[in-house]
Symmetry: C2
Subunit: 382 residues, 2 copies
């Protein structure tokens, strides 16, 4: 297996891109990469996207974007694993380069969610759950997270207010990220007063419906060794769990997150305490807590303590959502996994200004598809 | 790059499976593989499917099937490249095993097309073309093939009757395939009298809307070397072309098919004349002709001559559609690429009875997504 590296990154600001097509927002980060590297084609385009078939009437996205870029006779793939489509596209691109089959791969995640009414998006997102036993019963993703959060609060004695720190941290960090959707800080009071979506999940526990696209260029490490700003991929692992929440013996433990993180740690030869920052899949505040526990940063049932004690902030023990996370940078579902990687690269390159994690040497990203169903963990170093 | 092999195959009969869900037809071929190998899990499930999001309200298929199979903590991926989704899933599985990242991979293609009315399927299939410049103008895939066929007939002086041999051959071969949708031979007269769908494409130039699923198990060659019936993967390559037909300089030449075939020949170290059988993407009779030309079996503009002169039959120079092809075995779109590979394996194992290509040693499959847009060519030997 060849070692791999990220040579360049690109991203479109997360926003409501009413004036642009999926193709235009997806092309932007790749053109940034082409401009920075002087390249004008690649061997493969691995496109992570969840909703385009339903919302944009467009499938076949790897070929579609490849054609638009002028990259003919390439590998062109569309990868979908719900909200982890981005990281899955990254992993497929990674394995293609690692196998030696191709040398240059663009892993892109792009999603245009504002092309459909919110209620349609809610229904389409439920295609990530078990359609027969969850979606068809009328339960939305937000509702499942609400049930999970309530059970967790009941089991471990936390109040809703104990989750405030996750949302406050994400919004505080997004202020310094020009590509983030929400660049205003929020207070504990505004979290507590925020409008309920599905009790106990309020609008400040949940991510916004937005558009966005981000891309990375993966190459064999040997081709670029020694170049400035190259980011090495030390570990990458995927793991699945039961699709339906009710099928899990222990719904309050993200088993797939634990499994993929442990594999990634082993590949990288490191332990959780070696991680300088963690771009977690903070789609809901409850998922931030569960992810920190599954990945070995908190004891079982003690995730909220890290938020309460400021350990997740930029200067804390394990900074998360350092560029705003899913909550405040935004969660254009199929693009999120690539945004996380782009942000990890920025931190390792030390270009985040006031949002910088000082001295960051090792970064971890974790992207989750479904409710803890499909989890991809990556570890990077500069 | 590790060498890879196919250890086992499985398939669901192509049919109108009114009584089964997508998951049930997809599970069947994998359970066949588990039963034959004594395995009960795999490292990764790579699921090729095009229409499930739109037709079955279910995405996230790699995790979904993995869960159903009881294969927890695995890699679970859904790959989509329109009608070549099956072969793309195969290639992603192949690269994952070749990279050394995982050891056992199920590549599955499954599609349940009969869960929606035919006119809805026609609209959804057009999501494989350029949505803004083709689909939104109201042109269907069949109509694009009809325009291509008419232009080809005009350019090279062929009549519609000269394409009859492709359809006759496919139906004749399907008689011997218990998994084929249409197991009755057709005559030249019935081809000529067949009902027009979009002139000059009749129902006997086009594939049926059907359900089906097929799977293969990929492992490192070193793990199984010397075992009876093992099929080696000698070459595998993908290439893309312009998405929209009107953007191509030469619409009558399948450039991506040529490119991927040439790469696969080079990897395998063989020439077209070494191929004993070719499972071509005969979605339409015009595509059979163009594929034979692009892959070096016929001169430009002379594809129909091979059908006219019987060279594509089981005993001909280059047998195609040996188990019925897309035309008569059926074309459950995302599953087709895997059916082709399953059939190539059967030919190499010599288990096709009256449908056997005598002495087959090297087989080629070619799966096409969109109208010549995304082409995956694989070469196998026993």
């Amino acid at each position: 297996m060849r070692e791999t590296a990220i040579l360049e990154i690109g991203q479109t600001p997360v926003a409501d891109h009413w004036d642009k097509s999926l193709l235009e927002i997806a092309g932007e980060p790749v053109l940034q990469i082409f401009e920075k590297t002087g390249m004008n084609t690649v061997d493969g385009v691995f496109f992570g996207n969840m909703l385009s078939g339903a919302v944009n009437n467009q499938l076949h996205l790897g070929s579609y974007l490849g054609d638009w870029l002028g990259a003919r006779h390439t590998e062109g793939i569309h990868v979908e694993t719900a909200c982890s489509s981005g990281a899955s596209a990254f992993r497929q691109a990674l394995m293609a380069v690692a196998s030696g089959d191709i040398d240059t791969a663009i892993a892109i995640g792009a999603e245009k969610m504002t092309d459909a009414p919110a209620e349609e998006i809610t229904a389409e997102l439920a295609a990530a759950s078990d359609s027969e036993y969850e979606r068809d019963m009328g339960i939305s993703f937000t509702a499942m997270n609400a049930m999970l959060m309530r059970r967790y609060m009941e089991e471990y004695g936390w109040k809703r207010s104990n989750f405030a720190g996750f949302s406050i941290n994400a919004h505080a960090n997004a202020v310094h990220n020009p590509c983030a959707r929400f660049r205003s800080p929020i207070s504990r009071e505004s979290y507590l007063r925020s409008e309920m979506v599905c009790d106990p999940v309020s609008v400040l526990d949940a991510p916004p419906v937005v558009d966005g696209a981000a891309a990375v260029l993966i190459v064999p490490l040997d081709y670029v060794r020694g170049q400035l700003g190259i980011v090495r991929i030390l570990g990458s692992a995927a793991a699945t769990d039961n699709m339906a929440l009710h099928n899990r013996k222990d719904p309050l433990w993200l088993s797939a997150a634990e499994c993929s993180a442990k594999q990634a740690y082993a590949q990288a030869g490191i332990r959780p305490k070696d991680i300088d920052l963690f771009e977690a899949h903070d789609a809901f505040t409850i998922i931030s807590a569960l992810s920190l526990e599954a990945c070995g940063f908190a004891e079982r049932g003690q995730g909220p303590r890290l938020a309460e004690e400021g350990e997740i902030t930029l200067s804390g023990r394990i900074p998360i959502s350092t560029r705003g996370g899913l909550k405040a940078r935004g969660h254009p579902v199929g693009a999120t996994g690539i945004y996380q990687i782009v942000e990890a690269v920025q931190q390792l390159q030390g270009v985040c200004g006031a949002g910088q994690v000082e001295g960051a040497k090792i970064a971890m990203t974790q992207n989750i598809g479904g409710l803890g169903v499909n989890v991809i963990t990556n570890i990077f170093s500069c």
